[in-house]
Amino acid sequence: MFILSENRKPLTKERIESAMNDLEINLIKRIQSGDVNAFEDIVIKYKDKAMSLAMRILRNDEDAEDAIQEAFIKTFRAIVDKQFEERSKFSTYFYRIVYNSAIDFYKKHKSKTYSLISIDEKRTDDDGNVTDIYDFEMNIDRNKYYISSAFDVDKKAVENEIQGIVNKYLEQIPEKYATILTLFYINDLSHEEISQTLNLPLGTVKNRIFRAKDKLKNILTSHYNEDELLEFV
């Protein structure tokens, strides 16, 4: 027993990912052999993260649901037609389909409802001025998120308030930053995988994460002093 535990390798992120990938490959093989219900496991596993990604682009529940439904059906077809290659990671492949479906949905319905959301490389305001993450302003309800200098409120409540600001930040920033942050922090893709998924240079991906985080840091440090923030580390 002792020898077994000595030989057991530690559970690294790579080993977990590899095991997950094997599990997905197994599901894919079952689907290809005609077990359609195996696809439900994939739906259950990915629906929330796919929804989060689609919401960053479409910012509307119903449209995001339609887009991910389309993405799941496209994925199913790709699996049945054996277009998905086992050597690629399923999650990367799937999120790319979700992203493209959401973009297609956006383009198709752009004229109807999405006039205020910029999806292009440059974000413009109503006057046509180019804005970016550094020009992004976040209206924080000071009554809701006010922290007294005496720091006399419950620490947990303050931490929740900060989490609320971060959640709101991700909902409000331009799509090109929100998508990358979602893929990196929520969907657990690496920089390289995001680069493949969005078809962007690796440097651009890293730069956007850095800039978006830097802006968030500025927003938070304008409301809380550094010592207060460091209390939570």
């Binding site: 359609v36 219900n37 696809f39 439900e40 739906v43 259950i44 629906k47 929330d48 993260k49 929804m51 989060s52 919401m55 529940d61 995001a64 649901e65 991910i68 439904q69 799941f72 059906i73 199913f76 077809r77 049945v80 037609d81 900060i162 989490q163 971060v166 959640n167 991700l170 942050l181 922090y185 929520i186 985080k213 968030l216 840091k217 938070l220 440090t221 550094e226 923030l229 460091l230 939570f232 580390v233």
Partner: protein, 154 residues
């Protein structure tokens, strides 16, 4: 300073990882799986149709090639007159016959120009085989195009 910056960075990483995922409606999986089952039935039907079309096209192509080869060798040889580098082909009065003769002449002249000498019968067989392959590919492509259209219309 650098260390506190790094700590704040870690703190932000932690907060960003804790941003809650957005969930679709409760019945999302159920509705989606119904659509997936329908899609699976449609794909299975399509595969069956594809097999039938391929079989028919394959059978037709094999039959045409076989028929051409047999007929070509049985009856074709007597019609050919070749003398030196000049290649002559059988003449016909019908429009179709004239067209075939013209095509044969063009191909034979071109091949002759490159120093390749083949009989019109062999050329006929080669052209028929190419034609059959063309018909097969065209038939398959037309079928597949129809298939993609039906997928898009979903």
């Amino acid at each position: 300073m650098a260390q506190s910056n790094r700590k704040i960075d870690d703190f932000l990483d932690q907060k960003l990882r804790r941003v809650p995922v957005i969930q679709p409606k409760d019945d999302f999986s159920k509705i989606l799986m119904q659509k997936v089952i329908t899609e699976h039935k449609r794909l299975t039907e399509e595969t069956k149709k594809e097999r039938i079309v391929k079989f028919v096209l394959g059978f037709f192509s094999t039959f045409m090639i076989g028929f051409t080869v047999v007929i070509g060798y049985l009856y074709g040889k007597s019609d050919v007159i070749t003398s030196g580098s000049e290649v002559t082909v059988e003449r016909s009065n019908s429009m179709a016959g004239k067209l075939v003769t013209a095509i044969q002449s063009v191909f034979l002249s071109v091949l002759n120009f490159f120093g390749v000498s083949i009989s019109p019968t062999t050329l006929n067989i080669a052209l028929i085989i190419l034609l059959v392959i063309g018909v097969y590919l065209l038939g398959e492509r037309l079928f597949l195009r129809g298939k993609y259209k039906s997928v898009k219309s979903m």
